[in-house]
Every structure is written in C-alpha cells, then in structure tokens.
Assembly symmetry: C2
Homo-oligomer: 143 residues x 2
DNA sequence: CTGTGTGCAAAACGTTTGCATGCCT
DNA sequence: AGGCATGCAAACGTTTTGCACACAG
C-alpha cells in the first residue's frame, strides 16, 4: 500500500466498508518498515483505539492481503509478519533478536528458473531471505 | 545428515545417547526428500514404534538441529518442516497443496551482499523460496 | 550409578471460528 | 434496510513445558 487514502479507495471500490478500526490499522501500516506482527499492530492501534479486538486485526489484515495491499511474510518461525511495501525487495532476519530488515538490491537477473523446473512447476514469485546477526546483536554478544 | 550410522556417531561424540526412538526417527529422515513435518515423521515412526510420543519427536528434531544434522525450513505458514539434505539448495512450495520441492540450481553467484548491507548485518546464509503451483495442482484446477 | 531421554498430561502460543450485535453505505 | 464488520469467547493445531519414570553409558 502507498497511502491510507489510496487503500481506503481500494476497499470502497470493492464494496468493502470503511470503519474507524480499519483506518487506524491502515495508519499504523502506512510507511511502516518494521514488518509488524499482528500483535505489534494490535498494540499500536490499541493506544488510540482501546476497544479493538484481535479478530478485527486479523480480519483486516486478511482483507488487505486479499485485496493485494499488503504482503504476508513467512520468515519467522513463531508468527506471521506483514509488509505494506509491495515493491520487489527481500529481507534479512537476525537470528538473535529476530528483527527483519529490508534489502533493496535486485537479484532477479540471476534468479532464472531452468526449463526442467518450469516444466513441472509454475513459478509465480520468489522471496530471498538472508539469515545472520545484526550489528546491534553482534555488539551485545561481544562479537 | 548422510547416513543413520554417521548421525549416531555424531550424537555419541557429543555425549548424547542412542535410543531406539532416535534410530527410528533417523531412519525416517535418511534420504527423505519430502521435507516432512513433525507430524509426518511421527506417523511414519509410529508404524514400527507405536508407543513413541510427540515429545520425543520434537526433542530429537531439536537435538538433530542443534548438532547440525538437519535443517529447519521456514516456508509453511502452519507448521515447521525438516530437511535432512544439508547441501546448498533451495525450495519451491505449491500455493495449493503446499508440497515442497527441491531446486538444486545454484544462484549463489548473483546473491552477493553489498558492502552497505554487510556493514550493518553479518550474513551467514540465505534461502530462496519460489512460490507457484505444481503440475499436479495445475491439472486438477483446470489450468 | 548418573544423567540424559522418554512419555504423559497440561499449558502455551498464535491464529481461526461461531455467533449475536453494531454500524457503514 | 441490507449486509459487511466488530468483539467476545471458545476452539483450533502446533509446539512447549513440568514431571516422574526408564534406560543408555
């Protein structure tokens, strides 16, 4: 997604409804580069919207995913993460603190599927995940 | 891991114990290219070892992971999968049936971390996951 | 004999569901 | 008015934990 307004229009155009809860969730997501989990979104939304439920968070994330406005990341063993940045990019995840970072380098030139594979599998996309340790954790651990 | 015997020796050399349950689990894993989940391993082991518990499955998988004999795949939203093949390779996952396939093409030439990234993150490995639909599901869905 | 491994049951965890009510359009 | 959205509580599936007992070394 780009802007809250754009996202709202996308919802409206599909007959979906604009609610204060959805607006609040979209505000948290807009420009968010922290790859939040449902719980992180819940916590932030709760600050200004104390009565919101997890059901609504999950429902809205599902709607946004299905309308192609956010991406679900399968990177973390323990929970799902969401990324409002739809531009093609990849991720680094710290083995220690589990923070997810963006990497905008383009590797797509080399990622070509050989004929032998495309014969038996229709590839629609790919995701590269880098594992390692972030600077902060390196310093804490006494490199 | 390569062979059951090799894996057992690796355990022994670390003061860990060889039990019938561990042997049974290793037999299921040896040469297994189906990227089984804990439950799939449990089901297979149960055939010859009806009293084994899930605790032992998880415990053994954890031990094998920590001794570097199997790899845990973070690919599937709903459960963990394990891969005894430690050779560098990547995976395809079918969006429909969630089967995981291997792809042995080497993309590493192009996957170079730029200085700007390695300054703030120490990369130890990476994994490329391809998404799409496998041949079987394509045919069922009426392509 | 020591301590690691096992199996059971219960708990924990993130996520999903059923349902009555609420509210956007 | 109609139907989608909300919030609650309960259910779900996977994984983890506490504990007493068993057994490999």
């Amino acid at each position: 997604m780009d802007t809250v307004d754009g996202a709202l229009q996308a919802l409206r155009s599909k007959g979906l409804k604009i609610t204060p809860q959805r607006i609040a969730i979209l505000k948290v997501l807009q420009g968010n580069t922290s790859h939040p989990s449902a719980e992180e979104i819940y916590k932030k939304v709760t600050r200004k919207h104390p009565n919101i439920s997890f059901t609504t968070i999950y429902n809205t994330l599902d709607v946004l995913k299905k309308t192609g406005q956010i991406r679900e990341l399968i990177i973390d063993k323990t929970r799902k993460h969401f990324d409002p940045d739809l531009s093609p990019h990849n991720h680094l995840i710290c083995d220690t603190c589990h923070t997810i970072f963006d990497i905008f380098e383009d590797f797509s030139d080399a990622i070509t599927i050989p004929q032998s594979v495309s014969d038996v599998f229709h590839v629609t996309g790919h995701e590269i995940v880098f594992y390692g340790i972030c600077k902060e954790c390196l310093q804490k651990t006494g490199n």
